[in-house]
């Protein structure tokens, strides 16, 4: 069981950062992941008093505070309107409403889980993380950086006019996904993310010119699947995941190009 000796509601980010330098201390987000471990936490750091629980929108971007819950993103009207509902769609399968009212976006993205539905969705967009010391870094870089002691303050998503679609496959409702997928499109550029392979979500890109044929899409998808690695775990084999990836990517492309609808 995990234990906590002392609990500090940080009054400034500087204070939180100083405390978080010690490996024995930990930031508490929604605590859902932390509580499953056996960590003996000396000082638990609470960021709730630092105004990081809001989703701000301006003409260029959305800025999402790390203490926003997954449910905040799932139900935010403008955020979902701007990106074809992918926040709602990618989050709604995670455990249950009660759990998503607790789990934070900061804890979810900091952890960079291989199975993450939301990391997959965010990687298909023009997304950044804002770190207290490290500054603003593209999410696509952050995803492969080692877990360190910096504080993830915000997620920034630029409104660059991308159209997006996402889906996942689960053996049963509320389970971890067998595979996650998100696709976004801006003019001729396509962004394809496949996660839970069962490794961390990976972004691939391809271009499609205006007079493309169906074969061009098939070939691009084939190339992407060839270039990313898949593995086997209790939820599915490498081969099964490759076949699923082909279907999930193509469904998302179809949804963006033709409004194709697939029940999930």
């Amino acid at each position: 069981m995990f234990t906590i000796d002392k609990y500090v509601v940080a009054e400034s980010l500087e204070e939180a950062y100083e405390l978080n330098k010690s490996k024995r201390n930990a930031i508490i987000g929604g605590m859902l992941w932390l509580r499953m471990g056996r960590k003996k936490i000396r000082t638990a750091i609470d960021l709730s008093a630092l105004n990081l629980n809001k989703i701000d929108e301006d003409d260029e971007s959305f800025k999402i505070g790390c203490m926003c819950t997954l449910r905040d993103l799932e139900t935010h009207e403008n955020l979902n309107k701007s990106f074809n509902n992918i926040f709602h769609k990618s989050l709604k399968h995670i455990v249950g409403v009660q759990m998503r009212n607790l789990a934070t976006i900061g804890g979810s993205i900091y952890s960079r889980f291989g199975f993450s539905d939301i990391l997959t969705a965010l990687l298909s967009l023009d997304s950044y993380v804002e770190l207290f010391k490290g500054g603003i870094i593209p999410l696509n870089e952050y995803v492969n950086m080692p877990l360190d002691n910096d504080i993830l303050m915000k997620i920034i998503i630029n409104k660059d006019g991308r159209k997006a679609a996402c889906n996942s496959h689960r053996i049963s409702a509320t389970d971890f996904p067998v595979l996650t997928c998100a696709v976004a499109n801006k003019e001729n550029e396509w962004f394809v993310v496949v996660g839970a392979r069962p490794m961390k979500a990976k972004l691939s890109t391809f271009n499609l010119n205006n007079n493309y044929e169906k074969d061009d899409i098939d070939n691009a998808v084939l190339k992407i699947i060839d270039n990313i690695s898949f593995g086997t775990n209790i939820r599915g084999s490498k081969e099964y995941r490759q076949i699923l990836a082909d279907a999930l990517i193509k469904r998302n492309i179809d949804e963006i190009l033709n409004g194709g609808y697939y029940a999930d």
Binding site: M36, A44, G96, V97, Q98, M99
Partner: protein
């Protein structure tokens, strides 16, 4: 550390260890409807409302409720027993162990969603596991319960 919170509108001030889990704190204050059905945040049995929103009390520190209002079934007896009647009418309960968390989440859903579709109902209640039934009785009970309220609204 000291916390002050309201459980079912009654104020409590207490000195607790920082790793006290809200579920255990609530039970220690006599809210025995709040139970633990799993160790992995999956079952929904421990559902309570924090500032009106459904959360898992097994996965929340009691200090996180500092200054806030918690509602358990003990605080909404009339609403809970009314919905309990709908469950009974549909034969939806077998052992009944899952009911406290399920009832809390149904009430949270009724407060949050307006005229939900069947898919929306299923999605909202997906995090409440029942090991005995096939959920069909529950779904019928929920639909009839919500219908009653939408009829009342229409009539008003």
């Amino acid at each position: 550390m000291q916390i002050k919170l309201w459980i079912n509108d009654k104020e409590y001030v207490d000195d607790i260890s920082p790793d006290t889990i809200l579920l255990d704190f609530l039970r220690s204050k006599g809210c025995l409807s709040v139970k633990r059905g799993c160790e992995t945040s999956n079952c929904g049995l421990c559902t309570v409302l924090l500032q009106g929103k459904p959360i898992l009390s097994c996965s929340t520190l009691a200090v996180r409720a500092n200054g806030l209002k918690v509602t358990t079934i003990e605080g909404i007896q009339d609403e809970a027993s009314e919905f309990g009647g709908f469950l009974a009418d549909e034969g939806a309960e077998q052992c009944g162990f899952c009911s406290p968390g399920f009832i809390m989440n149904v009430i949270a859903m009724k407060n949050e969603l307006k005229n939900p579709t069947e898919d929306e109902i299923k999605n909202y209640l997906e995090g409440n596991l029942c090991r005995c039934t096939g959920y069909m009785g529950q779904l019928r009970a929920v639909k009839k319960y919500l219908e009653k309220y939408s009829d009342m609204k229409k009539g008003a």
